[in-house]
Symmetry: C2
Subunit: 186 residues, 2 copies
Amino acid sequence: MPEVENAQNVIALLKSLRAVRQFRPDPVPQEVVDAVLDVARWSGSASNQQSWEFVVIHNQETLRALAALEGFAAHLAGAALGIVVVMAGDQGQVEQETFDEGRVSERMMLAAAAYGVGSSIGWFKGRGRAAVKQMLGIPENKLVRTAISFGYPDEEARRARPKPAQARKPLSTLVYEERYGVRWQH
Amino acid sequence: MPEVENAQNVIALLKSLRAVRQFRPDPVPQEVVDAVLDVARWSGSASNQQSWEFVVIHNQETLRALAALEGFAAHLAGAALGIVVVMAGDQGQVEQETFDEGRVSERMMLAAAAYGVGSSIGWFKGRGRAAVKQMLGIPENKLVRTAISFGYPDEEARRARPKPAQARKPLSTLVYEERYGVRWQH
């Protein structure tokens, strides 16, 4: 484990990561995409299965077509690139694959954030899932639900957005001590 | 988003996170536990549902009892503390809750790692799941599978371990460009 000189910086990054859905048109440098993928590659997974593959999409036409599918991935339309996460689709491992998909997605977003690149998780549902596979030539037996948008945040669009910043529940309602129901006192 | 002066440091931390299953007996400072929980609190989730609660366990007897349950959580027995992740258990949201559980677990591990504290994901299966709920007084309708061990890594035990470091697949077998099957050329 490398010496991280300033743990507070890392904690600040971890606490500050927010979904970014409005992007500037600027491209994301290859160096950043490489770092995101390398971080994904080194993510942990149940029994080190690494049941993931990634389709990196820069083509704006493809991104717009993905954005239009059933689900919650409209933000892909304005992204500099998208990464579609392809899980193995092992029927006996759906639970672990879903958990690991969450882990690897989170790490990719954090890797991008380290370079000031924003991201958001897109989620296909219903017929959108079969459509993604058909569109990208992904075998039917794979489990495909997630596409992550990446791009530099459009701060002006964000400020103009009427929606307030997403709040979080206070720790006092989330954390118990030794036993469920015993409130955390710190 | 805070200015992270050295993106390379963050990337190094993200790439270097490995499961730690052998811990020194030293306690983990309250400051670190607080940071881990605060990072958990600020994690992203589908529709900002924050469907998680956390039971923090320092009691060594409880940790040993949890370690003995059906699943893969034996490492809890030697940990300074464990955090059991309690998801809401909404029947219509199992997939999202599982994905979000992976996201929040990953962030907690990274927060600990920023302070040099190791961690490992424990996973209950079969009858172990009902047993955890009963043991900790968690309502039956909740979804409980994950307990994360935390503690300072026992480097000597790690070096003595015959098992080699966990390898990862090369990017060339994991990444496609624009379309599944088209190998990444970078």
